[in-house]
Subunit: 348 residues, 2 copies
């Protein structure tokens, strides 16, 4: 994602230096030698410079903005490097989607986790923001229209960042609902895993090519997921309107359209126990949605034990957690959705 951002940024005439983690050595090599980003399978814009991790200081020299594009497992690691690389006045913007939970089930947004590795003094002299909303990296890189929301606490910083990135194909809105946008970004990945069930069920029934699909099923999940996104806002302090826009339903739509996470959900829908999906079918594949289900679903159970939540809250997320964390077979709790099927007056 961070590499894809080089396209709008270079189109705006900015300088872009990419720094790889120790896991990105081959990617950086490839960009240095040929200009091609092998995962995107695209040549990056002329002038983008790529640096191995040991040359990060050089890459950060004179930089105004630092973007963090590691996956959710690397956020603490990235924070430790930021601790030595950031300088006062820099604007940090993160694209990683996920949440972290403590033993009580309290959830933290990842920009806070990223910042926590930085000394308190420096932390206060740097701004922290994030990119949320529906943006498949490769689509940005081929300049397909994309609408995103830059989220953070400082409206002025957000407007400066938005002005820096905005092009005629990369459209940027801003939101000071930092928690709400980040929670949506993480949690919609969980629900998008369920987007794979539609086709998985057809696979299981030998109906992979059948005329009648299971879109009604997926749509019902999408509706319940939207409801639960709103309940996450209530629980964690996000604004009610955030799930209804780009960071919520918009991003959940795009994430449901495909990718590794949906593929993992499809296996689960087809009846493969999830431990087998993770350890055999998709071994060594980073599954951000699944990781988020483990974090969020686990936190849900701890919050329920503490009496913060009722057992009937978040029935879809709880079932996703059962599938992922306990190898439970798919058994959608339909009647628990939308406040309960036979409870009068509840609206789906």
């Amino acid at each position: 994602m961070a590499s894809a951002m080089a396209f709008p940024l270079m189109d705006k005439g900015h300088e872009v230096n990419l720094v790889g983690t120790h896991l990105d050595r081959d990617i950086i090599d490839s960009i240095q030698k040929t200009g091609v980003h092998p995962n995107l399978d695209l040549e990056l814009p002329d002038g983008v410079k790529a640096y191995q991790l040991e040359d990060a200081e050089e890459a950060f020299e004179g930089a105004e903005i630092a973007m963090s594009g590691v996956n959710s497992f690397g956020v603490r690691w990235a924070g430790e490097h930021f601790a030595r690389l950031l300088r006062p006045g820099m604007m940090v913007i993160a694209v990683t989607k996920g949440l972290e939970a403590d033993e009580e089930g309290n959830l933290s947004i990842l920009p806070d986790v990223l910042a926590s590795a930085v000394s308190e003094d420096l932390r206060g002299e740097v701004s922290w923001s994030a990119i949320t909303g529906p943006a498949i990296a490769g689509e940005v890189a081929v300049r397909h229209e994309t609408c995103v929301v830059f989220a953070g606490l400082d409206e002025e910083v957000l407007e400066r960042l938005a002005g820096t990135f905005r092009t005629d194909y990369y459209h940027v809105w801003t939101s000071t609902d930092f928690v709400g946008c980040e929670v949506c970004a993480a949690v919609k990945n969980c629900y998008a895993f369920g987007g794979g069930f539609m086709d998985g069920l057809l696979d299981k029934e030998g109906k992979t090519e059948a005329r009648y699909r299971r879109y009604n099923y997926g749509a019902a999940l999408f509706g319940q997921a939207t409801r639960e996104l709103e309940q996450w806002m209530e629980l964690l302090g996000g604004r009610a309107e955030t799930p209804r826009g780009l960071p919520g339903v918009g991003d959940m739509f795009v994430t449901t359209m495909g990718g590794r996470n949906v593929k993992a959900g499809r296996y689960a829908g087809a009846g493969v126990p999830f431990s087998e999906v993770q350890n055999v079918k998709m071994k060594d594949v980073t599954l951000e949605g699944v990781a988020a289900i483990r974090v969020v679903g686990g936190a849900l159970e701890r919050m329920t034990r503490r009496g913060v939540l009722a057992a009937e809250d978040f029935p879809l997320m709880r079932h996703l957690y059962g599938v992922v964390a306990r190898d439970e077979p798919l058994d959608m709790p339909w009647s628990a959705f939308f406040g309960g099927e036979t409870v009068s007056g509840h609206v789906g």
Copy 2:
């Protein structure tokens, strides 16, 4: 759709009599001779009886529930037949999705249009309800899980109807937000037309099979459409929560996944002037979404002239109307979405 409802109803042990319009003569013939519904390409459950229009009285004899499944162009016609066929105490339930506008741009929900053809006395002795939410007919007919909302003004009637139709694959919630559910049902069809633009644009650019799609584009439209659905509620008196559930985002999701309406949108996305789509490419095809865009978009312009709305309200619907009614080329007003891209403090 009405024929597909025979599956859950017969599974519950009810009697089902289907009556065709004058346009359904061949369908009724086929069901009478072979039991097969040719459009669904499925054999209807044993015991379903099919009647030609002239035998409607016989079909209605002893019936407790009358379902109207005509398309939006046939609602007045159906109302006239209901005027002679309904008897006091019957429960009417409609599945037609659309709206009707008068010359001032005032919009009516179709169950009201249906009822308007029935004498005032009889109208008051019959209950009027509708089915909303994501339900592709064929998926119901093959018993794939489906979650819908029965909408009407009388909670008790809705619960009776829900109890009549509900099975372990056809899940029913109820809502007394009759206007909100019906407006969502109609308006989401308009926005789903825009769901075809993603692939149409790829077709136009010779990227039909390209790796990078235009899901970001579709997701941004989905987000803006959700925002506009909420504004429709404010304008027409629906409840704020209705678009967030099955009747809104749920149904919009399923409708965006395919069908004639999306196909028409794909042609428009590929650059075919819409008059050519309608008169050549998809001649004689009923396009409910397009019909709704004409009604709703036209009403929008009339309401704007009357000062009820500002010119910047509903930018997506206005553009869809321009494409459909005035052969305008696709030119998405991105910066007008989500309250305006460069207006501080607005959230996407």
